[in-house]
Amino acid sequence: MALTPETLPRHELNGHWVTVVDATNPDLVGIAGRVVVETTNTLHVDPAPAGSAEGDTRVRQVPKRGTTFEFRLTDETADPAKGSGTASEPDHPTGEDAAHVTVDGARLLSRPALRTETTGDSKWR
C-alpha cells in the first residue's frame, strides 16, 4: 500500500509539503510548508525550508476542521522501494512531477495513530 491519493488520509502526514487552499478562517489561507506535528484537531505547518533564514519561520498551527489542504506527493515519497533516505528531506514546491492532492481537513479528524485503522488492508476481516 504505497502512498497514493487514495491512501493519503490514512497515511503519515508528517513531513509532507502542504498548502492551505481554503479555510473558514481567511487568515489561514495560503499557509504552506512541511507538516511537522499532527494532533487530533490540528496540523503544525513549518513554512521554512530547513536551513533557510527567511522572515516567516514560525510554525503555524492550523485546525483540520473547516480547512482544505493540498498535499504535494512527490514520486520519491510515493515509491516505497527507494524512499528510506530521501523521503524526509524538506520538499520545496519545485518539482513538476509532483502530484497535488486536495483533502478536506474533516477527513483527517482523528488521533494520528488511529487514522490508519479505520479501514485496514487486511483481507480476512
Binding site: M1, A2, L3, T7, R10, H11, E12, N14, G15, V36, V37, A50, P80, G83, S84, G85, A87, S88, E89, P112, A113, L114, T116, E117, G120, D121
Partner: protein, 91 residues
C-alpha cells in the same frame, strides 16, 4: 507493506532527520508516534528502529550526536545521552 508499516518507516526517517537537525524533542514525538502505531497494529518495529531508539527516553539515537556505541566481546553497547544502555549481539 501495509500503511501502518510504511508510516513507522517514515516516522523513523523523520526522527533521524530531526535529531540530525538538532530538534530532539520533535524526534521523540516521531518515535513515540511510531511506537504507538506499531502497538495498535500489532507490528514489530524494524530492527534499525529498535536499535537506534532509546527505550528509556524515546530519543532517536544518532551515534556521535546523542549516543555512544562501544563494541564488547560479542555485543555492542549503545549508550544514550540520558544514561540508559542497550545491548545487542553481533557475530
Amino acid at each position: 507493506m501495509s500503511v501502518a508499516a510504511e508510516r513507522i518507516e517514515r516516522l523513523g526517517d523523520l526522527a533521524r532527520e530531526a535529531t540530525r537537525a538538532g530538534d530532539e524533542e520533535r524526534a521523540r514525538y516521531y518515535v513515540r508516534l511510531a511506537r504507538r502505531i506499531a502497538e495498535r497494529n500489532r507490528l514489530s518495529l524494524p530492527r534499525r528502529f529498535k536499535r537506534f531508539t532509546c527505550d528509556a527516553c524515546d530519543a532517536y539515537l544518532v551515534p556521535g550526536r546523542n549516543a555512544r556505541v562501544r563494541l564488547q566481546d560479542g555485543h555492542a553497547v549503545v549508550t544514550c545521552d540520558c544514561g540508559a544502555h542497550a545491548r545487542y549481539p553481533y557475530e
